[in-house]
Symmetry: C2
Subunit: 205 residues, 2 copies
């Protein structure tokens, strides 16, 4: 069974890479579906789930708590764990259904026993900023500095979120089987090569 997990730096094109790689391999890609399912099953708002599952449980505290060192109310803490548990179950269910690509959400950790092929997608800062600018929704005009700050924050959150589940470090090459630097390349141009690598990895000629 082919299970490919994609971890990625913000702006590196990892999401697009996951989607296109799955298409090329003719298998499912799960990305936002995970958020949608959790939100639906637990009656949460999708953005709230995305916040928790991409950031860390602390991100689930309402910002009105204000004081940084305040202990989170038990209920909110619980919700964070609820989301994490739901995420784990949903990702495992996806994996059980057969070959797939899963983007983000610590799938490499959650599916450890399934021996997934774990990819990490990264790029240099300039490429990532340019990618964010090129893909910004119409009417959104963030400066390069704003984007760089956001990039740093999202990646920090991803690293922290991972740390809650695993000893291995987010973004450290030892954690992954293949790390792909997308700087200066169109994602679509790399897909046939990556698909060939995946097939080799799984012993297909």
């Amino acid at each position: 069974m082919k299970i490919i997990t994609i971890s990625r730096e913000f702006g590196s094109g990892g999401r697009e890479l996951g989607k296109r790689l799955a298409e090329e391999l003719g298998i499912h890609c799960y990305d936002h579906e995970i958020i949608e399912l959790i939100a639906k099953e637990h009656g949460f708002d999708e953005r709230y789930v995305a916040n928790i599952s991409e950031k860390c449980i602390e991100a689930a505290y309402p910002t009105t708590i204000g004081h940084r060192f305040a202990m989170p109310p038990v209920q909110i803490m619980d919700q964070g764990f609820q989301v994490a548990a739901a995420q784990q179950q949903i990702i495992e269910n996806f994996a059980k259904q057969g070959d797939c690509v899963i983007v983000g959400r610590c799938a490499d950790v959650i599916l450890k026993d399934y021996h997934p092929l774990n990819l990490f997608v990264y790029a240099d800062a300039e490429s990532k900023i340019q990618r964010c600018i090129d893909r910004a929704p119409e009417g959104e005009h963030l400066s390069r500095n704003d984007i760089a700050r956001r990039m740093k924050q999202v990646d920090k959150n991803r690293a922290q979120y991972r740390q809650m589940f695993a000893d291995s470090k987010w973004g450290a090459k030892e954690t992954y089987h293949l790390c792909v630097n997308t700087s200066g390349h169109q994602i679509k141009d790399l897909i046939p090569g990556l698909a060939a690598f995946v097939r080799c990895w799984y012993g297909e000629k």
Copy 2:
């Protein structure tokens, strides 16, 4: 023009990967040839050149100097730089001759202006130790601990040697375009996928 540089952890199979990848792509692979040429042109012993060009200039001091803090005699220091300069020239000459794979020797730094595709090959400690045991010359019986120690030392030397030429860090994924974890895999099984990736990288279908 395809120029592929291979940097690698000791025992990860990077040398074999470079050789096989070049074969698959139908291009030259330069590895020990570099050492041989330097030795021949400058009348040095091959092992001496290998020591310098894989380690650092300090490795060129005769061990009889003994005292760690002694300044190296100018002549010996000069020889270290001579080897480094010869290496640079030889590697540039190889690159000018056309498509090739170059293993080690900071080729990624030396050939920066040629925009090579830089691969890093790594593996987990257990896989690397096992690979060393499997490939040890007949009659060599090093313990796992001995191998682990040697592995650490060689990689440390490689990192230090690189530091003399470049700001970017040996082994840090940012330094490379693709990082391949060979743990638990036969190198030969990964080659068709890696060759396909190389072709995509260079815009071939």
